[in-house]
Symmetry: C3
Subunit: 167 residues, 3 copies
Amino acid sequence: MTSLDHLADRQEILDLLATYCRGVDRLDLDLVRSVYADAGVDHHTGFDGTADEYVAWLARALPLLDGTRHVLGTHWCEVRGDVAAAETYGTATHWGTPASEPALNFTTGFRYVDHLVRERGRWRIAERWAVREWARSDAEDRLPVPTSGPRGDRGPDDPMTQLLARL
Amino acid sequence: MTSLDHLADRQEILDLLATYCRGVDRLDLDLVRSVYADAGVDHHTGFDGTADEYVAWLARALPLLDGTRHVLGTHWCEVRGDVAAAETYGTATHWGTPASEPALNFTTGFRYVDHLVRERGRWRIAERWAVREWARSDAEDRLPVPTSGPRGDRGPDDPMTQLLARL
Amino acid sequence: MTSLDHLADRQEILDLLATYCRGVDRLDLDLVRSVYADAGVDHHTGFDGTADEYVAWLARALPLLDGTRHVLGTHWCEVRGDVAAAETYGTATHWGTPASEPALNFTTGFRYVDHLVRERGRWRIAERWAVREWARSDAEDRLPVPTSGPRGDRGPDDPMTQLLARL
């Protein structure tokens, strides 16, 4: 029978993975840093190094794009005491100006393979392998996003950021 | 330590969000209405008003399409007593006839930003901002769906609707 | 109030669905077989038969592709004692050589409709309807995956397989 402790670990790990996405997509790099262990390491396409170096790399790379969306899906996780291994499928959409530029407008399919540790009572990523498996250009097919309706923002004007402030 | 109450809230909120998708995609508008609070409000691209008005708008808009799929992904939720804020990434595919028509065949990437409340013991959406972030035409690339194999239906012939009736 | 038993059932069923994806995508057909009940049945586009026959069919079909990704999303599940019905949205990407061949490079949108049973204390799929709803060719838009950075593998060299072995 699955225990409450196990379910709590699973939820906390899922929340950590979502926090990473929120950090990258809202350009909140302190939030990104917070999901890694103190001595965290990240292996990405185009990057390999410590969590501190990764955040510095993101600080240079992300502003070249108008926005990103890191959509997580299938998630599988094995918890063993204070360590865990998780495999989480994701699809990331990147968009930029001009919309016809393939290097700025593309979708990637990947799996995050995460070695997680409980550090000071909280789950964190000790080591991540971002396994890119597939990529597609969106340059030919991008449609304009209407200017009416709720709009996202990487900064304090984002509707979620505003809702959290009001809650 | 995460409590059972918190885990139950999180599961109930996730189920509510899935119920919304099922309602829209199966054209079950009573189900859609049921996920909003009595005084629920929705802000969408092309719509802004009460939950009642939103459902009336869907009743006109959805039949113009042959079908929709609202696929949820990354989910982040902060519960504070009887209110909560949730951010849920989604990708929606819309298809229609003819398959070559971009206005009927497109995919959108969005985040649902939801202000949730516990109303009569059940979580409901008090206010939703559907933040559209990205869109792509599928008109050039649609492939026909084979006529053999299990087929979906917006009405009572859908395999899930039939399975639920038998369970 | 949602009980611990219900939450445990829900987590176990989600894990089962993720295990299926991992089995197909890593070409681990024993793992695929393990998610079905002894007398399991599967209805797919292009296949209809027992779980044993389905695994034999996958053993012939999957090696024709270079890889697959089965990304699950919206999940809805009703548990009634030792049986359950689940509807799980998914998006599957298939890729092959040459990248320009539409029959090997396409994305499908589907819902898994699952009749689940508790068999020898563990949830399993008694009957699955894989309802294909939408498909798109990726042949025109495939981008090459860089050779640097973490790479996936269907066999023992996959980063997740290696992490699990070390844990």
